[in-house]
């Protein structure tokens, strides 16, 4: 059965259809939840809450977007709620403007040309971002959610979402491609 048919069946009360939808999507949704929360325990809670909300709100899903996109939005909202509820996270104490020190400042992944290594370092850099910045850059640059959808689910204005996105991108670049002393001097 196609996903659209499963959604229609589940909305009509077929619990088996909803179960199949969960089976098809939960790994992906967990991936997003993990990237947003930065730890496994919170990610599990977020995923369970997201599917519960999806189940209760399935008759409100209009089908004008992909089911997965709708799930991403719910997951983003649940993760935002979980993080603002005060769940402690090891990086929350970092402010948005706290500079991130690179453990290997002399290493240049661009010169190495190693895409795999860049992804590994990007993963680490994402984990080090404050959750507020990480959420927007993950939702926009990884999951392609529109600015307005991101703003809605995080409970902020679209302008604020864009500001956070640009700040996050800048922070990632600074982290992954640190300027040499000469460049820093030139910039000043």
């Amino acid at each position: 059965m196609e996903q659209a048919e499963l959604v229609a069946a589940a909305a009509a009360g077929d619990s088996r259809a909803f179960e199949e939808l969960v089976r098809q999507t939960y790994t992906d949704v967990y991936g997003l939840a993990y990237r947003l929360t930065g730890n496994e325990e919170d990610a599990r809670d977020v995923v369970q809450e997201a599917y519960l909300r999806a189940y209760k709100g399935l008759n409100r899903f209009r089908g004008d977007a992909q089911f997965s996109t709708w799930l991403y939005r719910i997951t983003a909202n649940c993760a935002s709620t979980a993080l603002t509820r005060g769940k402690k996270h090891r990086h929350e104490e970092l402010g948005e403007d706290t500079p991130l020190a690179d453990a290997r400042p002399d290493y240049d992944p661009e010169a190495a040309g190693d895409a795999e290594l860049l992804r590994t370092r990007l993963n680490a850099a994402l984990e080090e971002l404050p959750p507020r910045l990480r959420a927007v850059v993950v939702l926009r640059d990884m999951y392609d959610l529109p600015h307005q959808a991101i703003a809605d689910e995080l409970g902020i204005s679209e302008a604020a979402a864009k500001v956070r996105l640009h700040r996050a991108r800048r922070r990632l670049r600074e982290r992954l491609f640190p300027k040499s002393d000469e460049e820093t001097a030139h910039a000043v």
Partner: protein, 116 residues
């Protein structure tokens, strides 16, 4: 336009979210430093898209936990639905009884009037 102005604008334009104005494009065309910075942003964006395809496997048991929670919610919903139907049936019965009583009172009243 200075490199610092371009550096501030680059995070906005790398995914086409905002249009680069002519002055910015001209500067980037002629400035190796800004071209390098733009290339770095694009590399990061590509790497972000590639990360999207990486599967993060959850620990075993998550699927079962989700399904159990949903099933529990489904049962609660079914119970609520049943209670709502019963309440509606009771309310209907009470309304029917009241209507019958009122009709009886009207008939009784008319008979008494006729008798009088």
């Amino acid at each position: 336009m200075q490199c610092d102005d371009v550096a501030r604008a680059l995070p906005e334009i790398i995914d086409g979210g905002a249009t680069a104005d002519l002055a910015l494009r001209r500067h980037v065309d002629q400035c190796l430093r800004c071209q390098a910075e733009l290339a770095q942003y694009r590399k990061i964006l590509r790497a972000m898209h590639q990360l999207r395809t990486e599967v993060l496997e959850p620990a075993p048991g998550l699927l079962a936990d989700i399904l159990a929670k949903v099933e529990e919610a489904g049962e609660r919903r079914a119970v609520r639905s049943l209670l709502t139907k019963r309440r509606m049936a009771y309310a209907g019965a009470i309304a029917a009884t009241a209507a019958a009583g009122a009709a009886g009172a009207v008939v009784y009243g008319r008979r008494r009037l006729r008798t009088a």
